[in-house]
């Protein structure tokens, strides 16, 4: 579904991604782990078009993504849930979801999606009229994920959904993501600093270090690998 080949990207003179290749099949749950500053968020931003790559190929559903304007990529079925949640603080919870459903598919499935979202995240139904800025961190993260789901995506890209959350809230978010993946069969690409959780649930994983993919494997292969321990703890 998503295929990235030898991607190079960066900000101005500072290169961040160096020949990154990655493949995500339909229905897969793929995790990218690696220390902070490795370029994970830049990779996501390049996929959704905020960062323009200097070289490499990006294909989604067989289409060349580089020929698609950033705002049009969401309409192809890519839902990017950015790092740090980035909900629209002055819009209400419901309005945030409506914005998530800005795509044609999202508008078409609006009723059904809203119902599903409300069963997955009941708190969003209770607080529908609250401005998103007034939600707690965990609730904002739920809203960010729900907003992505409201677009009826083919691919859900989650950037550090547990960041800055209390452990209990992070666990809850994690369970929800896994159950959404399992019940709907949605393709998920996850960037996470909680390596253990990420690799536990993912079908496959990649390790990104200093802008390079240094390791790739199934979750069993990666879980016992010392390279990850080294990447995080330096030993």
């Amino acid at each position: 579904m998503l295929e990235i080949v030898a991607l190079h990207a960066g900000y101005g003179l500072v290169p961040v991604l160096n020949a990154v290749s990655l493949r995500v099949g339909k229905g897969e749950f793929v995790a990218i782990v690696g220390p902070n500053g490795a370029g994970k968020s830049t990779l996501f931003k390049t996929i959704s078009g905020i960062v323009t790559p200097s070289a490499g190929h990006l294909r989604f559903d067989g289409k060349d993504l580089l020929a698609v304007a950033p705002a049009a990529r969401a309409h192809l079925g890519i839902a990017h849930i950015p790092e740090g949640r980035q909900v629209f603080p002055s819009l209400t919870v419901l309005e945030n979801l409506e914005m998530g459903a800005y795509t044609e598919a999202g508008q078409r499935d609006w009723k059904a999606n809203l119902e599903k979202i409300h069963t997955w995240f009941p708190v969003l139904a209770q607080r529908a009229k609250t401005p998103a800025g007034a939600l707690s961190g965990g609730q904002q993260q739920m809203l960010a994920i729900a907003r992505g789901l409201a677009s009826s995506p083919k691919l859900l890209m989650l950037d550090e959904p547990s960041m800055g959350l209390a452990p209990a809230a992070a666990d809850e978010i994690f369970e929800r993501i896994v159950s959404i993946h399992e019940t709907s069969g949605l393709t998920v690409l996850l960037v996470e600093q909680r390596v253990a959780e990420a690799l536990h649930f993912a079908d496959r994983g990649y390790v990104l270090e200093a802008g390079r993919m240094v390791l790739e494997g199934t979750h069993d292969e990666l879980k016992s690998n010392d390279r990850i321990r080294q990447a995080y703890l330096g030993m």
Partner: protein, 319 residues
């Protein structure tokens, strides 16, 4: 001056302030939308307003609105015509000039980009007001309407000693201004378009992830912003005389109102503009006419220095 006379003057100024203030409020809403969505301070805003006045003026005279709708209703129709015309002008100005230094591309320029926008609109302001001299001439004009010199009288009150006159032309203009503001608020809060504009204002990056074309949102916001203000200008055009430099007189009025209301808050901007109108008219009770504008500037400076977040801004944004 006895007390009854002072009260009469006071009430008269209050009425005048509310009427002018409503139109100022409308104009401030336009400036505020542009800042709210694009984070650009439009220096040329007063000059788009001036264009709106001339569009209303020529629409009234040359396009035959006068003959179609008559001298009483015609000026208001002409003012409303200014809206869509200036909307197109704004969209064009954004596409050709402002979009090049704003939005995602402009963000790359970071801090420089901020001033680039401001200074670009300064250039646009100079071109519009001075180019206006060529196209419109330098002699002041105004739209002639009998309503401008008719007034309803209220009173006599308080043992026949107080009588207030409410200018008919201004009253109708104020009502239209209120209606336009109300319509605009409804569009911004209820419609899909309005919500997408607010989303783009809140977080352009996340809006892009939703599939919202942020550049288009900015273009529309700029168009709406100048159009709304142009209607305000059109409404003023039948009460006062104007020339191509008129924008400068109002631009500080608008900044003051918008800052008073809290930059970026549409509701706040309206009340900010209303307050400025009141201050301006009330100041005539104590100050010579020529210092009206100075009073506004002083209040503007006072607000920016003491409470830059505005008086209404934070409170209104939450509701």
């Amino acid at each position: 001056m006895n007390i009854a006379q002072f009260i009469e003057n006071f009430l008269q100024a209050l009425v005048a302030g509310l009427l002018t203030g409503s139109i100022y409020g409308l104009m401030c809403v336009g400036l505020s939308v542009i800042f709210g969505v694009m984070r650009v301070i439009n220096f040329a805003h007063g000059d788009f307003m001036m264009l709106g006045m001339y569009v209303a003026y020529y629409a009234f005279g040359l396009l035959g609105i006068h003959t179609l709708f008559g001298a009483s209703a015609g000026p208001y129709v002409a003012a409303l015509v200014a809206g869509p015309v200036i909307f197109l002008a704004g969209v064009l100005a954004h596409r050709l000039l402002i979009s090049r230094v704003t939005g995602i591309r402009g963000n790359a320029l970071q801090a420089q980009g901020h001033y680039a926008q401001l200074i670009l609109t300064l250039g646009l302001a100079l071109v519009l007001q001075n180019g206006g001299l060529y196209f419109f001439g330098s002699s002041p004009v105004s739209i002639a309407t009998p309503l401008a010199s008719n007034a309803w009288s209220v009173g006599p009150l308080y043992a026949d000693r107080i009588e207030i006159f409410v200018n008919q032309g201004q009253s109708i203009a104020a009502l239209i201004a209120l209606a336009v503001v109300a319509a605009f608020v409804v569009i911004m809060s209820r419609s899909r378009l309005g919500k997408s504009l607010r989303a783009a204002a809140d977080n352009p990056e996340a809006a892009t992830y939703m599939g919202i074309d942020v550049a288009r949102s900015h273009r529309l916001a700029f168009g709406f912003g100048v159009a709304v203000t142009a209607i305000g200008g059109g409404l003023l055009a039948s009460g006062t005389s104007f020339q191509p430099y008129v924008g400068l007189e109002y631009v500080i009025v608008m900044y003051a109102g918008v800052v008073l209301g809290g930059l970026g808050s549409v509701g706040g901007a309206f009340f900010g503009g209303l307050t400025i109108g009141l201050v301006q008219q009330m100041s005539t009770l104590f100050l010579p006419n020529q210092l009206q504008n100075t009073a506004i500037f002083v209040i503007f400076l006072f607000i920016v220095l003491v409470r830059p977040q505005g008086l209404f801004g934070t409170a209104l944004r939450r509701t």
